[in-house]
């Protein structure tokens, strides 16, 4: 039965009732996208489940269960957990340069052996929860333009800088953009938006020249002119464009992508999986895939809109912004429209960490949907 504002007290808290409130359309779209991802991973491995497709499916199964479990968690609990989650993530992020270990020239990981965590991923959820929690207690006027906005700016800036120093430019940008997106959704005044836009526009050149590490700068310059260094740093983009372009309108056919099968396409199972997909399924396939992602974003935004609490609205929308940014940045990067910054395609790219983050995020979105009528504490002046 569908619930309404008029259901009896306590009825909505029953598990059997809650399960019916889960948005199954969103779950289905997520499953379809992941299924396409598994299919492409199977093809990229030379028509084999191992080493990617099997693990991808198993991880997704576990994450799907987690998503359903999280969707049962009341919004009030998310509300209470918001600041602590952010605080823990921030603490771990600060710990990374001290005790983290280095892989591929960057310190991103904590822990050892089987249990390894990437604090920057926890922060992706943490920033959404913390900002939603913060704006929940803010009046529209304050959210538009007031000194209090320095607090979300700090909430966003500190972790973004910490992640950028690891260095992990992609995740840092993602955190910053997500935060900016949420500030926008919360009603940031247009004047401030314009000022920020001008500031970023003016600051981008010195940022690229003086703040970025040489390899990061190379990536950016290479994306602009990949043909200058076809066997060096331009190789990724060039091969990715060849894979995409050679797919044509209808693609080379499933399992027949020569660029990915013969390893010309680097990172074909992770960051460049969209190119692998595009090579085999062509423009038609790509439009279909992007439509699925757009559908997921639209459903999630709709869920955010119908929430009765501002916390619910903003947290669901925050997850949606992160998800949409993932897709847009990754696709733009693969097509040579953006620098190669190491942002994977959510649900398709092989990799457990991102899968977990995204599915926890969708768990939150579903929780917002399930608990859309839940009343929230004011949250004003208290941290818990």
């Amino acid at each position: 039965m569908t619930s309404s504002a008029l259901t009896r007290p306590g009825q909505r808290d029953r598990l059997s009732e809650k399960v019916t409130e889960i948005d199954w359309r969103l779950a289905l779209v997520v499953c379809v996208i992941t299924g396409l991802g598994a299919m492409i991973l199977y093809s990229a491995a030379g028509n084999a489940w191992s080493p990617w497709a099997d693990k991808h499916v198993i991880r997704f199964g576990l994450c799907l269960v987690l998503m359903f479990v999280l969707s049962m968690v009341g919004l009030r609990f998310w509300f209470i957990a918001a600041y602590p989650t952010y605080a823990i993530a921030l603490f771990l992020l600060m710990l990374v340069p001290v005790i983290g270990h280095t892989s591929l020239g960057a310190k991103r990981w904590l822990g050892a052996g089987a249990i390894q965590i990437q604090p920057s991923e926890i922060m992706k959820i943490g920033i959404v929860l913390a900002l939603a929690r913060f704006y929940h207690g803010l009046s529209p006027r304050e959210a538009a333009l007031s000194w209090k906005l320095l607090i979300p700016a700090a909430l966003i800036g500190v972790p973004a800088l910490l992640v950028a120093r690891q260095p992990d430019l992609g995740t840092a940008l993602l955190i910053a953009f997500t935060g900016a997106g949420m500030m926008f959704l919360a009603g940031l005044s247009w004047r401030l938006l314009a000022a920020g836009g001008i500031l970023i526009g003016a600051g981008i050149t010195p940022f690229i020249l003086f703040v970025l590490k040489p390899y990061q700068r190379d990536r950016i310059l290479t994306f602009l002119h990949p043909e200058n260094d076809p066997s060096g740093s331009g190789y990724h983009i060039l091969q990715s464009k060849i894979a995409l372009g050679s797919g044509g309108l209808l693609g080379k056919g499933y399992g027949l992508g020569s660029q990915s099968q013969l390893n010309f396409l680097p990172e074909k199972q992770t960051d460049f999986i969209f190119a692998t997909f595009a090579e085999e399924f062509g423009l038609i396939g790509c439009i279909g895939l992007l439509a699925l992602y757009a559908l997921a974003v639209a459903i999630a935004l709709r869920i955010a809109s119908i929430s009765h609490s501002h916390f619910g609205r903003l947290s669901a929308a925050g997850v949606t912004v992160t998800f949409a940014l993932y897709v847009l940045i990754n696709a733009a990067m693969v097509m040579g429209m953006a620098p190669v910054v190491g942002v994977p395609m959510p649900l398709m790219s092989y990799g457990g960490t991102v899968m977990l983050t995204v599915m926890v995020g969708f768990g939150l979105v579903e929780a917002v949907r399930v608990h859309r009528y839940e009343e929230m504490p004011s949250g004003r002046g208290s941290l818990l």
Binding site: P140, L185, G245, G248, L262, L301, A317, M337
Partner: protein, 679 residues
């Protein structure tokens, strides 16, 4: 400030509604932005996949497929009977393509575990690989055994860039017998690359293939472009590190094999010639006097051309280059020597043309005084006519005869017979030599006008083939064949056909402008050299083939040591370098000539002792191979006719009456050639 109830909203309802309204508008805007972003992506995708799709398709194909150059099989070089004197054998080798690989040294170590690869070789390979562009293969090892080849082949998939390859290598089955004529192939040098640059400034990629060898000398060099062929391509599907995933035989481009070249040489004769020379230094040239085909073109001692194909070691090369008998020099074409008494045939023809009576006699008492210089003869020959003087090679007679003819007449005849010129035989390396004349001396000594005048005292030396006159063995063979042919100014031909296309014959030439009677006279005298008891080469040049006789002329030429101005003792004594050069020119059969031959033995001593026996052996080989001659030799002897005046057609000519020591009818006389001789 009083706290509201925890469950109540902290802000007023209108604010709640305002906040919700702002969110809805902003969420709608965000959705719009995301939609625009997606549209931009679709636009970009359309551009990449539809507008530029074909270009990227091509780029993808050039990633996926690779054409591996397949060198064409080099054309073979055959002798006149189709026997291979240069061909190709399978060569199992290991090629390495660097590709994207970084760990070249590690790969080499792994290869060294499978096939022998010394440390020094590894070091030089590392250097070669790092200097080679990554798409071009480098040969790690050649001439592997089947076992080694199979071992590498099995392991090749694990060894990035390593491929076991079956190519072809040049082989010269006769080793040294043809080394000077056909030359050899060797690795392409930097100068070759410079020379072979195409219009685009880049050399033919075939030249860069490690299995390719380029012609360096002789026929291999002169006809390199015909022998080379056109390379093919093998279409293979490769992955990003250049590993071959599979072949695509349907996309292969067939290599066009090089053209076969057929030489006029006869392997049996050439081999026999090399055999009879042993370690002696010299040259032997034989021509078929009906066609001008060269049957033998040998320079001895020789070297093994095979050792140059894979690269001769510098120590070996030094040994060859420094050996005093000069194995690397083609003496048949580039060796110049005074012709000695063989030149008397020319002097005789010149004198006859100048009107000297063949019956005119001179008396030899061992020396000839001209002015205040005494020219010596090695014997007291007594009184001789021209026939006798040729047969016994009397110098005194020819000092006088040369003066009678005059130096210009001698030069004119010698040039008509091919001396002092080079022939177009398809390979380079001939030297012209000198046929002295008054004009020649004027040109030659331009810088020292005092020497420009021809002194009559210089003519007698030329009369016996000494002095300024200088020839190579090929020229003397042409001279002998023109003497033997008697009608045509034959040119030698070495290249019989290229790719099945017949090359111009050496007999398509104008007639020889010499009085046939004079020629017959000289030929008869040459027959006496070999067959008269008094002839200088009587014993040495006797073929022993029944009625088939050889005619010839000996020559013993002083070898000048210009540095000291001295020469050694006459004949085969003393220092090798100071000994005389031995010559013999010949043609056979004497009565119906087919083959002409010149033999030089450098510092061999007397022509009759050193050169004539070799000429006899080489000539015998040629005659015995000729089916018509063979039939003539094996044909039973005709019975002596009852009436000596009634000759049957085809019967042997009457027995000679004037050749002492030769048994009666077994060997026919050569008198038919001898119009000027007293009966």
């Amino acid at each position: 400030m009083s706290r509201p109830l925890s469950l109540e909203p902290s802000i007023f309802f209108d604010e709640v509604n305002e906040r919700q309204g702002v969110f809805h508008r902003r969420a709608f805007l965000f959705g719009g932005f995301a939609g625009l972003g997606t549209l931009a992506l679709v636009g970009r995708l359309t551009d990449l996949q539809v507008v530029e799709g074909v270009r990227y398709q091509l780029l993808s194909n050039s990633n996926q497929f690779n054409f591996r150059l397949r060198p064409p099989p080099r054309g073979r070089i055959l002798d006149r009977n189709g026997i291979e004197i240069a061909s190709n054998r399978p060569d199992f080798r290991v090629l390495y393509r660097k590709g994207e690989s970084k760990d070249i040294e590690g790969t080499l170590d792994k290869v060294a575990a499978l096939i022998p690869l010394s440390d020094t070789r590894k070091a030089s390979l590392l250097k070669e690989i790092s200097n080679t562009p990554k798409s071009r293969p480098v040969s790690l090892a050649n001439d592997l055994s089947w076992d080694e080849f199979a071992r590498v082949n099995v392991r090749a998939p694990d060894l990035l860039g390593v491929a076991a390859d079956m190519g072809e290598a040049r082989v010269y089955p006769f080793g040294g017998a043809f080394a000077h004529v056909i030359g050899y192939v060797a690795r392409v040098s930097a100068e070759d690359l410079e020379k072979e640059k195409g219009i685009d400034g880049k050399p033919d990629p075939l030249l860069l293939h490690p299995g390719f060898r380029i012609g360096k000398q002789g026929v291999e060099k002169a006809l390199d472009s015909q022998l080379r062929g056109r390379p093919g391509g093998q279409k293979v599907e490769v992955d990003s590190v250049g590993r071959v995933i599979r072949d695509d035989p349907s996309g292969d481009i067939k290599a066009l094999p090089g053209k076969d070249v057929v030489l006029s040489l006869d392997a049996d004769i050439q081999n026999r010639a090399l055999e009879v020379f042993g370690e002696d230094s010299g040259a032997a040239v034989m021509m078929d006097i009906r066609t001008g085909d060269l049957l033998c073109l040998l320079s001895a001692p020789s070297f093994d051309a095979n050792s140059f194909v894979s690269g001769v070691s510098s120590a070996d090369y030094k040994q060859l280059a420094q050996y005093e008998r000069k194995p690397l020099l083609d003496k048949a074409l580039a060796g110049l020597y005074p012709p000695g008494s063989t030149f008397k045939t020319m002097v005789a023809l010149a004198a006859l043309a100048a009107g000297q009576d063949p019956k005119r006699t001179y008396t030899c008492n061992g020396a000839f005084q001209f002015g205040n210089h005494v020219f010596k003869c090695d014997k007291h020959h007594g009184t001789l006519d021209m026939h006798g003087a040729i047969a016994t090679s009397c110098d005194v007679f020819f000092y006088q005869t040369a003066l009678n003819a005059g130096i210009d007449k001698i030069a004119e005849v010698a040039k008509r017979f091919g001396l002092g010129q080079t022939f177009d035989i398809g390979i380079t390396g001939q030297r012209k030599g000198i046929v002295p004349s008054i004009e020649w001396k004027r040109n030659y000594f331009k810088k020292t006008p005092a020497n420009q005048k021809w002194f009559p005292g210089e003519t007698p030396s030329v009369g016996i083939g000494q002095g300024y006159v200088n020839v190579n063995p090929l020229q003397l063979c042409v001279m002998a064949s023109r003497l033997a042919n008697g009608r045509k100014a034959l040119n030698p031909r070495l290249i019989r056909s290229i790719g099945g296309i017949e090359q111009p014959r050496g007999s398509a030439v104008p007639d020889l402008e010499v009085n046939p009677d004079h020629l017959n006279f000289v030929r008869a005298a040459m027959a006496s050299v070999a067959n008269d008891v008094s002839g200088t080469a009587f014993a040495a040049a006797h073929l022993g083939l029944g009625s088939v006789l050889m005619a010839g002329k000996t020559g013993t030429a002083q070898s000048h040591v210009y540095a000291s101005g001295t020469h050694g003792a006459h004949g085969a004594r003393g220092d090798w370098q100071l000994r005389d050069h031995a010559w013999f020119i010949a043609f056979a059969p004497a009565d119906d000539p087919r083959y002409a031959l010149s033999v030089l033995v450098e510092h061999g001593g007397f022509g009759a002792e050193a050169a004539a026996p070799k000429a006899r052996e080489i000539m015998r080989t040629a005659l015995l191979k000729d089916p018509e001659i063979r039939a003539r030799i094996e044909q039973p002897l005709p019975l002596p006719p009852l009436d000596p005046n009634a000759q049957l057609p085809g019967a042997a000519p009457p027995p000679p009456t004037d050749i002492p020591g030769v048994p009666g009818p077994a060997i026919p006389s050569v008198q038919t050639f001898d119009p000027g001789r007293p009966a």
